[in-house]
């Protein structure tokens, strides 16, 4: 890599001191003053409002829409239906790659899930468009809906998650279980969950000839641009997408969703800019969800509590028309050492929208089952659950046998346990009470998430006033990308962060890949880092080749970029400012480019994961069954931390999602109609402030020389894993009742035999 050649030293030691600093969010002022402009805040001249009409049946056909009634409503301008929708250049059901999800764009009258868009009403006011959608009063030919994990014949999917094999094994699980002196078998169920970012999916679309301007939240600008280009048959460069802020994404904004495309179609139909914002209930259908699972785990240990076999089977569901299979069993690939591991998946097709990546897809779902099973196994062995986990600590990745690129999990266990006070835990359940007499339970869960990277590009500029520019079409959905990436940019350019103009969040900037898989800081950060190195190298060439520069002839020794100056590596008394170098060369600016991708050699040699240990305390009313997570301590090791303030917030957020998974989130589907019955934030519960009174996240030091030159692993999703299981295990420890259906609701503690 060029920067290594330039400096002969690890890249991140070279420049400045922005990385690692707990800067506050650079977009903080915009966000606390209401000035941050989210998609739905835009209002171009002449804009009309579009509102979806969605199906109330899960399967069948729309036989009637009262278009005249909707059109007769004052201020309604147009109704877009299959009869008059603008023609697309591509069948939205076409699929040329696994990440091209099929979209419902009014191509026919078929209904394949509840809340599927069936028409769009466009009006001069939001109120009129909203009522117009109601006035369509659709009638249907309804077919019986297939809902639930037993609704149809199951099959083995060709791949799960991002394309992992549905079945994997190492060693002989059957023999391992046979020879084990202790065995458990347990089945756990998880339910459908919906991302429910606070910001509903929104789009403001404006056509100018065949040029398209879009404001919409996106976790993957380049992919969205490509998808829209394909659907409308226009070159990607004719499409300009602005996504400066996402009001949360969590996976649901990774790919442009059907309703967003319908906004673009509506704008084309009426020839005016259109704004389309999903109503909250409409987010329970066409914009993805986490699929339900039923997971069976069989574990066996020897006499000393060493695992001999792990068998993890998952049954899940996808839609009838597209493929996304929650890779829950894969959680068992990496966590615990066992000579024999088998993981498998089967699936059914049901009448729902297509499931999608949702914060820690597979990992969260699989983790709560695996961590519960590990706890049950520890109990069967009469061992402390933490001691059991340490006993089965994986020194190499169990499924592959590869060494870990780094793994500070022992430190996580130790530091987390110490802060939490784990040593005072009773072994037996239902032994601990607080002052008021509430049951107290302590549980632990191991957190893990793969350290992955996608491909990205960045462009760096140094200007003759000594300032820098870094451009990358990255995405900030709340992780703090605008801050963390600017920190990396500043170090990459050898400048103070205030001297760097960081440009991001639009589709005409270099492709930053997708903000998903907890990979964005590593992916975009490495492209930024490389672009910085490239522009510094070019600047250094200018200086070291110029007899008038104090750096003349330093090409072999190399230079260091810091504080807007280049220093000779072997003699730091010789230096020159960027401004002076460019001025003498008569250059207004100098530009560099960089890209990032995974290093295939490291990838094939090492298993790369972030790790953590989460300790949960719950209190449970012994008679009323109400549960509260009174304390959470998570200790996480995820390589280099770019900004500890933001990373801590990411861990907190993930941990709260873990609480939510264990105790709250549950999309209730009516078994007859297939309609979600709680498509609102009043009854689809996510935690409120009072649900998480005490959070602590410990940032455990970890240095990883292999994941990437910056040593960054991801932090966005790992907090969900481990936490969900820790909470579930704490509920068992408090009550003595092992609930295997998630979320754990109080009725199961009132009447466990139910």
């Amino acid at each position: 890599m060029p920067e290594i050649a330039l400096t002969q030293a690890p890249a991140h030691l070279r420049h400045g001191s922005n990385i690692g600093q707990p800067l506050t969010r650079r977009d903080g002022i915009l966000k606390v003053t209401g000035a941050a402009r989210y998609a739905a805040d835009n209002h171009p001249p002449g804009m009309l409002y579009a509102v979806l009409a969605v199906s109330s049946i899960a399967r069948g056909r729309v036989t009637f829409l009262d278009v005249p009634a909707a059109k007769a409503h004052p201020c309604v301008v147009e109704v877009m239906t299959p009869a008059n929708k603008p023609r697309l250049a591509q069948d939205p059901d076409a699929k040329t790659n696994p990440f091209m999800f099929r979209l419902d764009l009014l191509q026919n009258d078929h209904v394949r899930y509840a809340n599927q868009p069936i028409a769009v009403v466009i009006a001069r006011t939001l109120e009129a468009a909203t009522e117009g959608a109601v006035l369509l009063s659709p009638r249907y030919e309804t077919e019986p809906s297939r809902i639930g994990l037993d609704a149809s014949e199951s099959f083995i999917p060709s791949g799960v998650g991002v394309g992992n094999p549905a079945e994997m094994h190492r060693g002989d699980v059957a023999a391992g279980l046979e020879q084990a002196s202790r065995r458990i078998e347990a089945t756990y169920e998880t339910v459908a969950q919906y991302h429910n970012a606070m910001e509903p999916h929104a789009i403001v679309a404006a056509w100018d000839g065949d040029t398209l301007s879009i404001d919409t939240p996106s976790q993957g600008l380049a992919m969205a641009q490509g998808r829209v280009a394909g659907l409308f048959g226009i070159p990607p460069e004719k499409i300009h997408i602005r996504s400066p802020f996402l009001g949360g994404g969590f996976g649901s904004k990774g790919f442009i969703a059907g309703p967003q495309v319908l906004g673009i179609m509506a704008a084309r139909l009426v020839g005016r800019p259109v704004k389309l914002v999903l109503r909250r209930e409409q987010m329970f259908g066409p914009v993805g969800h986490r699929a339900p699972t039923r997971q069976t785990l069989r574990l066996g240990t020897d006499r000393d509590g060493a695992l001999m076999a792990i068998d993890h089977h998952t049954k899940t569901a996808s839609s009838t028309f597209d493929d996304f299979f929650e890779p829950a069993s894969d959680a068992s690939h990496t966590l615990y050492a066992s000579p024999a591991i088998a993981t498998s998946h089967e699936a059914v097709r049901i009448d729902t929208g297509t499931p999608l990546f949702m914060r820690a897809p597979g990992e969260a779902t699989g983790s709560i089952a695996l961590e519960s099973a590990i706890d049950e196994m520890a109990h069967a062995c009469g061992m402390d659950p933490l001691a059991f986990r340490l006993k089965n600590y994986a020194e190499v990745e169990p499924i592959s046998g590869k060494p870990f690129s780094s793994k500070a999990l022992r430190d996580c266990y130790a530091q987390g346990a110490e802060h939490f006070g784990w040593a005072r835990r009773t072994l037996a359940p239902r032994q601990m009470r607080d002052q008021a007499g509430l049951l107290v339970g302590w549980g632990v869960g191991t957190a893990t998430f793969p350290a992955i990277m996608f491909q990205a590009q960045a462009r760096a500029v140094i200007r003759n006033d000594g300032t820098g520019v870094m451009e990358i079409g990255a995405h900030d959905m709340g992780q703090g990308a605008w801050t963390a990436l600017a920190q990396i940019a500043a170090d990459g350019l050898g400048l103070d962060i205030d001297q760097v103009e960081f440009r991001s969040g639009t589709s005409d900037l270099p492709d930053a890949g997708i903000a998903g898989g907890s990979s964005h800081t590593a992916t975009a950060g490495m492209a930024i880092h490389a672009a910085g190195a490239d522009v510094i190298a070019k600047l250094a060439d200018l200086a070291t080749g110029d007899g008038r520069s104090p750096l003349f002839g330093a090409a072999n020794a190399g230079v260091i970029a810091r504080d807007g100056r280049l220093f000779r590596r072997d003699d730091e008394s010789r230096s020159e400012s960027y401004a002076a170098i460019l001025a003498r060369a008569g250059r207004a600016q100098i530009e560099g480019r960089g890209s990032s991708a995974t290093d295939p050699v490291s990838q094939s040699s090492y298993a790369m994961h972030a790790h953590g240990a989460v300790f949960a305390e719950v209190k449970v009313d012994p008679e009323l069954g109400q549960i509260r997570v009174s304390r959470l301590v998570g200790a996480f090791a995820a390589g280099r931390v770019i900004n500890p303030r933001l990373v801590r917030s990411q861990y907190y957020g993930g941990m709260i999602w873990g609480v939510s998974f264990a105790l709250h989130e549950h999309a209730v589907m009516d078994p007859r109609s297939g309609r979600p019955m709680n498509p609102n934030l009043g009854e689809y519960h996510v935690p409120v402030n009072a649900d998480v009174p005490s959070l602590e996240a410990i940032l455990v030091d970890e240095s990883d020389p292999y994941v990437n030159a910056l040593g960054i692993k991801g932090v966005g999703e790992i907090g969900v894993t481990g936490t969900a299981g820790a909470v579930a295990n704490a509920v068992w420890h408090a009550t003595g009742t092992r609930v295997r259906q998630f979320p754990i609701t109080l009725d199961r503690l009132i009447e466990p035999a139910r």
């Binding site: 969010r25 002022i29 989210y38 606070m198 910001e199 917030s649």
Partner: protein, 165 residues
């Protein structure tokens, strides 16, 4: 009855002609008065993103029919900072990282100001958490939010003490 209403919005008196009685205070602010800092998360009083102060009290503007608020004094997130000087609650949210995606933040901040003015929570973290539970944050910034509110409450108490002295 005419559907013209008078509102004071962030200190500015405005006459608003409503062509439709269905307009909520939230949609009035966002779609007709170009005050888009107030956010719509659920439109049903279930998330708190639309929280504004009306006559000094925090309410969900999505469940407030604009026409019924004729004569009201409305304070939104845009009306807090004095030029470049942030309101102490705004500054505390940044300092304590009481935000991530920022979408619920205007509502959180207006709610926090309302809570402090209500004077019921004081410096009790549990009362602050309960008092802020009408504002969902899907990113999970609750710890920072609670710390920010406690911090702002503390500054205000100190200020009050100074004034009293």
């Amino acid at each position: 009855m005419s559907l013209s209403i008078s509102l004071t919005v962030n200190g500015v008196a405005r006459e608003v002609a409503l062509d439709d009685p269905r307009v909520t205070l939230l949609d009035l602010l966002r779609e007709r008065l170009d005050l888009t800092g107030t956010k719509k998360g659920c439109d049903r009083g279930q998330c708190g993103a639309c929280t504004v102060l009306v006559d000094g009290r925090r309410i969900n503007s999505c469940l407030a029919l604009a026409v019924s608020y004729d004569g009201a004094d409305v304070l939104t997130i845009e009306g807090l900072a004095q030029g470049d000087v942030l309101h102490p609650v705004q500054a505390a949210f940044i300092a304590h990282d009481g935000l991530q995606c920022g979408f619920c933040t205007p509502g959180q901040i207006m709610s926090a100001i309302g809570l402090i003015q209500e004077g019921q929570a004081g410096n009790d973290p549990e009362r602050v958490r309960e008092g802020m539970s009408g504002n969902l944050c899907r990113c999970g910034a609750y710890a920072g939010i609670t710390d920010a509110v406690l911090d702002a409450q503390r500054s205000r108490t100190e200020l009050d003490r100074k004034h009293a002295a």
